[in-house]
């Protein structure tokens, strides 16, 4: 209804059409790499290499490349490592974040404001600055090529503490006093009342952290050189540089599909929540 009358009808139609053209072009630009990886992953090795001019579709799809991806390189292991890494890191992050956010939001203790300001200022530190010492620390603790070495420095996210604290503070204080009067312990109140009420935020930071973990590359690359501890990002880089003997691009693409699929499925399932969470607190790019 807002658009009735604006300008001549013909001009308006043309503009509308142009808008759809623009959006469709960008949609194609976004989707094309995904299509290409799927397509290449089902072309046979021979067929792929025989195409001097790449074909936009294939009539003989094969799943051979997927078998190759899982057998020629330990893709399943990379996958399992990443799942474990993501689960453990996210769980630890949640525990640490929920406790700290609760303390800042509801508990009174000496030095609280000072510590909070300290936390906030830590938000501005770029990870590139601290990665050097962390690398040295983990190396000295002899935790290279181990899960603790991978996980521990990846746990904390000041921003999530901040986000959750803001949310916790919106829960009416009367609820806390009511619970206190009923003799509820702080811990029980936190997990039975606060967390359920703030579930959207908790879920949001969980998903955001999981995405971050799944895609993390820099730290795992620094801290692991043993394939048994590689995550998918490192795995794919190894595959790129030395995997599959000579360049077996269809198998590579099969691996890429396997690696990309979980997050895309997660996104399609929790689309609204993820997009809202990112616009509230995500930063990338």
């Amino acid at each position: 209804m807002e658009h009735e009358y604006s300008g001549g009808l013909g001009k308006k139609r043309a503009l509308r059409g142009l808008t759809y053209v623009l959006l469709t072009v960008w949609a194609l630009v976004v989707l094309f790499p995904f299509y290409w990886m799927l397509l290449s992953s089902v072309k046979s090795y021979g067929a792929y290499n025989a195409e001097y001019i790449p074909q936009l579709f294939t009539l003989q799809p094969t799943l051979e490349n997927y078998r190759e991806a899982f057998t020629a390189v330990p893709l399943a292991r990379f996958f399992a490592n990443t799942v474990l890494f993501t689960l453990l890191t996210t769980a630890l992050m949640l525990a640490v974040t929920v406790l700290a956010a609760y303390a800042f939001a509801r508990l009174n203790f000496r030095g609280k404001n000072l510590v909070f300001v300290l936390f906030l200022s830590l938000m501005m530190i770029p990870s590139e600055l601290v990665v050097i010492t962390n690398f040295v620390t983990i190396t000295e603790l002899d935790l290279r090529n181990s899960f603790p070495g991978l996980i521990l420095p990846s746990v904390t996210s000041v921003f999530y503490i901040y986000l959750l604290k803001e949310n916790f503070e919106q829960v009416p204080e009367q609820l806390y006093y009511a619970a206190k009067v009923d003799g509820t312990s702080d811990l029980k109140y936190l997990f039975k009342v606060m967390v359920p009420i703030c579930r959207p935020t908790v879920v949001t930071i969980t998903i955001l952290k999981a995405i971050e973990c799944w895609n993390s590359y820099v730290w795992p690359r620094l801290i692991t050189d043993d394939e048994r501890y590689f995550l998918v990002s490192n795995g794919i880089q190894t595959i790129r540089e030395s995997g599959f003997g000579r360049e077996n691009i269809p198998a590579m693409m099969a691996a890429v599909v396997v690696i990309s699929a979980p997050l895309i499925l997660l996104f399609l399932a929790f689309r609204r929540m993820i997009m809202e969470g990112v616009s509230r607190g995500g930063t990338k790019g």
């Binding site: 209804m1 807002e2 009735e4 009358y5 604006s6 300008g7």
Partner: protein
């Protein structure tokens, strides 16, 4: 500028499967004489805002015609209609100063209409003086009070010398004290400029107090058009009678029999020439006269002292589930300890409606 609406209808298509088509304005015909201040009055969803949007051109009617003076504007886009509009939340551009806001419409003028900088400034200042915000020109909207923002919005609407001025709920965002003051102000500005003005409101008191004419609407249909006192004294139907007046009208189940109106078993009023049957009897709060041998007996519920007046609260079987409220002179207040109270009804303050409420019988 005279404004005429002829058989205007506006429907909104259904959105989604569960939704149904909504007729926001239905076969609306109305003529606003030049220079009048007219209120579109009704509860929310009655189509008054849609009517306003049809007038300014943000929406287009599905059928019917709209004229400004002799010119038909039905198909004209908003910018060609020469209307000024004051939005409910004022829609002042927050990043521009008051002066820049007022200048904004003038800067859009093109070709032959284009004004020199000096002329634009002069007109903007003139408009600002008219609404008495001459000293606020360099402020940003966020630095102004609600009432001041309202004035800036009016100045911005007036600066391009519109043929008609439209206002959407102009007072709803102001607190009670400012509301009184601002409505006088709107009246003054309208009188001074002589611009035909239409405003939308859901507040009957607001509509009654300043407008030359009131258009009462309900579910897209015009219920009654008339001068405020006329609409109050001669409501066209039960809806209008209920919507206007504060405290609201008291309603009794009654019947007409033998040229007399009965509430319960008591004949309360003569109604010569009316056919017998069930009716709804509406009595304005000021339509009750306390009288020891009055025609209507009610159980006394309480007495509220309002200062000059006294509000008598009562109950009656013919008025189920509601409290009867009568406003009487403070000197005549009844004994609060009494069980019953009796009234006579003033003839001009009593209305009879048929049982559907669509038609007034008396």
């Amino acid at each position: 500028m005279k404004v005429v609406l002829r058989n205007v209808t506006k429907k909104f298509p259904a959105r989604g499967k569960k939704d149904r088509e909504v007729t926001a304005v239905s076969d609306f015909s109305f003529e606003i004489p030049d220079g009048q201040l007219v209120a579109l009055l009704g509860p929310s969803g009655c189509g008054k805002s849609t009517t306003l949007n049809l007038l300014c051109g943000l929406q287009r009617p599905d059928s019917g015609q709209i004229f400004f003076g002799e010119e038909e504007v039905t198909q004209l886009p908003p910018e060609k209609r020469g209307v000024g509009m004051v939005f409910q939340n004022y829609a002042l551009y927050p990043h521009l100063t008051v002066l820049q806001n007022i200048l904004f419409p003038l800067q859009n003028l093109k070709g032959a209409e284009k004004l020199s900088k000096a002329e634009m400034n002069r007109r903007a200042r003139e408009a600002a003086e008219l609404v008495q915000i001459g000293e606020l020109l360099d402020r940003k909207p966020a630095e102004l009070s609600g009432g001041q923002q309202q004035r800036v919005a009016i100045a911005r609407a007036l600066v391009k010398m519109p043929r008609i001025l439209l206002m959407d709920e102009p007072l709803s965002n102001l607190d009670a004290r400012l509301r009184l003051q601002t409505r006088e102000e709107i009246r003054r500005i309208q009188k001074e400029t002589g611009i035909t003005t239409v405003f939308v409101t859901h507040d009957q008191e607001e509509a009654m107090s300043i407008s030359d004419r009131i258009v009462v609407m309900r579910e897209g249909l015009v219920q009654q058009i008339g001068r405020p006192q006329e609409v109050y004294d001669q409501p066209a139907n039960l809806f209008v009678a209920k919507f206007l007046g504060s405290p609201p009208i008291n309603l009794f189940e009654g019947r007409v029999s033998g040229g007399r109106v009965f509430i319960g078993e008591e004949a309360v009023l003569a109604a010569p020439g009316l056919a017998g049957g069930e009716v709804t009897v509406g009595v304005r709060p000021e339509g009750f006269l306390l009288k020891a041998d009055g025609a209507l007996g009610c159980r006394l519920r309480g007495v509220e002292v309002l200062g000059r007046d006294v509000s008598v609260l009562a109950a009656h079987e013919a008025c189920p589930g509601a409290v009867i409220r009568a406003i009487v002179n403070a000197q005549e207040r009844p004994d609060p300890a009494a069980d019953t109270v009796r009234f006579d009804l003033k003839p001009g303050k009593v209305f009879l409606f048929d049982k559907t409420g669509d038609q007034r019988l008396l």
